[in-house]
């Protein structure tokens, strides 16, 4: 489980994570926003349907793949949040 430090972000955007509206600091990665929401796993694997979550946060491991604005297989740690963005857990190869 993660928490945010008590800082006041200069500006925020609203994103929708698994159907829920969440206010997050502007400029942060989707993976960070999702981890701070403590949604558990962010995807299941295509081979053995195992739960996974971001692991490296720097674009190397591809364990953070999520469906962003309807497009599957997006690296959540490499995409910045945008106002109105829809972020969903990815099941397997992306349905």
């Amino acid at each position: 489980m993660f928490k945010r430090l008590d800082e006041s972000p200069p500006s925020t955007v609203t994103v929708v994570i698994n159907g829920r509206s969440v206010v997050v600091p502007q400029g942060e990665s989707v993976a960070a926003a999702v981890l701070a929401e403590n949604i558990g796993h962010t995807r299941t694997t295509p081979v053995k349907q195992q739960p996974r979550a971001p692991f490296c946060m720097m674009g190397v491991c591809f364990d953070c793949l999520m469906v962003i604005d309807g497009i599957p297989n997006q690296q959540a740690c490499m995409v910045q949040v945008r106002d109105g963005m829809r972020i969903e857990r990815q099941h397997g190869s992306g349905v």
Binding site: M1, L5, V47, G59, L65
Partner: protein, 464 residues
């Protein structure tokens, strides 16, 4: 973005920033490409945007980055953030995705300054949500001010592990335990490598002094732990390990692991540069001369991507490589190049004196690198276990690439970045062919996500 530049630098960490500033200050048109939204690289991630209180918690070394970044911002170097390099050829054609658009550009000189990433060391349960690289934890902290809610455990080895524990402590995060795989033996082997004065004053070994701070704060700190395992159904629930001959279990929902960092060599491999196995750093790195020139003409490498030296060395190496580029481009003569590089060489030499000590101290036990537990997933993408890899080797698939073909290990989206080391260790172990003679996964572009649509937009005039 133009089609051709005299100098393209890949990576805006200390090495790339320093090099770009020098080159630009000498009037060279330079494009600095980096996939992150802001300059700083791994160590100075988020440096321009982090609120003061957060920067303060991250410590004085973090703040050093401000100077580097502002000098770069004040130079005439062209900066392309959110720009991924997905291919690099021997002829210095550079595949780039900039603002979602694919481009193919070229350069007379290319400086690879793409840094390092954390060494993947598979162990049972390392794929569970809740288990994360310590550097990843630090990225969350630096970039977003996000920290473990309660009772994080840090495990592994390396300066970053202790640094992060210390940084968490300063941020008021409860650290349940720090479990270090280094043993007393490592200390004994490492200490003669170093005058103790350097040990106390060097910025990287500050971490060792943090140990004391951590102990004082009541953090459980164990050295020489073995057989680390993570347990849980849907996500991490507990961890177990061996220490001093007995088994221990700790409940936690957050485990940060770290086993040192290794050069990010996918670009240099793709470009056909020669590499070698570096025994002390336990990783492959490119063959470089004293300027950072690789075996491929016009391609230089500086910073951790050329071998782990740390942020300060990266900065010096970046400038040294830049002087070489200036010479290669005819901006400087040989004498000027040597003269200009002198100061950085001196500093770099001093900074590097700590390395033999660190390499001995933080050496990862070979037994861990060989992935002892058969059930451990080695390839996170294709979910291939150590057992399957061993079976493939036993069946006569006797090098990494054959194992890859046969098991799909390394064929997933991460392109083998997370498993190539472990596979190489397992192969070396099973076949008794030493690592330095073994083959690595052949590198296949694109090195960064490139879509069919993006590829289709390239070379519009080309026909069948």
């Amino acid at each position: 973005m133009k089609e051709n530049y005299p100098l393209v630098i890949i990576g805006a960490g200390p090495a790339g920033l320093a090099a770009a500033t020098v080159a630009a200050d000498h009037g060279v048109e330079v494009a600095l490409l980096d996939e992150q939204p802001a300059p700083g690289g791994q160590i100075f991630r988020g440096i321009e945007a982090a609120p003061d209180e957060r920067a303060d918690k991250l410590g004085p070394e973090y703040l050093r980055g401000e100077k580097l970044v502002s000098a770069f911002r004040n130079s005439s170097a062209r900066y392309y953030p959110d720009t991924k390099v997905w291919s690099l050829s021997e002829q210095r054609d550079i595949g780039v995705i900039h603002q979602q658009q694919a481009h193919m550009i070229s350069a007379e000189q290319v400086l690879i300054a793409n840094g390092a990433f954390e060494r993947p060391v598979p162990f049972p349960g390392w794929t569970l949500p809740g288990v994360m690289n310590a550097g990843a934890g630090q990225i969350l902290f630096k970039g977003s001010g996000i920290v473990p809610a309660d009772g994080v455990v840090l495990a592994g080895s390396g300066p970053l592990l202790l640094l992060l524990a210390w940084q968490y402590l300063r941020a008021g995060v409860r650290v349940k335990a720090v479990l270090d795989t280094i043993s007393r033996g490592n200390y004994i082997k490492a200490l003669p490598k170093l005058p103790s004065a350097l040990l106390v004053h060097h910025h990287i070994t500050q971490g060792l002094r943090y140990q004391q701070t951590l102990r004082l704060a009541g953090v459980e700190l164990h050295n020489g732990i073995r057989d680390l395992q993570a347990h849980g159904a849907e996500s991490l629930e507990s961890i177990s390990y061996r220490h001093k001959g007995s088994n221990h279990t700790l409940e936690t929902d957050s485990l940060m692991i770290h086993f040192g960092i290794i050069p990010n060599i996918h670009l240099s491999q793709a470009a056909g540069c020669d590499h070698f196995w570096h025994k002390r750093q336990q990783c492959w790195r490119p063959e470089l001369d004293e300027w950072g020139s690789s075996s491929v003409k016009g391609i230089l490498i500086a910073g951790d991507g050329g071998g782990i030296g740390g942020a300060r060395t990266a900065e010096h190496a970046g400038r040294i490589a830049a002087f070489r580029v200036l010479y290669n481009l005819g901006v400087m003569n040989q004498q000027e190049m040597h003269l200009e590089a002198k100061q950085d060489r001196k500093w770099m030499k001093a900074d590097l004196r700590i390395r033999p000590f660190l390499e001995k101290l933080f050496r990862i036990p070979e037994s861990m690198l060989r992935v002892p537990h058969d059930d451990t997933i080695v390839c996170r993408c294709e979910e291939v276990t150590a057992r399957e890899i061993r079976a493939a080797i036993a069946d006569g698939h006797s090098d990494s690439n054959q194992v890859k073909f046969y098991t799909r290990c390394g064929m997933g989206p991460c392109q083998g970045r997370q498993c190539s080391q472990a596979v190489a260790h397992i192969v070396a172990d099973q076949t008794s062919i030493p690592l330095q003679q073994s083959t690595q996964f052949r590198i296949r572009p694109p090195l960064k996500p490139l879509t069919l649509g993006q590829l289709a937009s390239l070379y519009p005039d080309e026909t069948e």
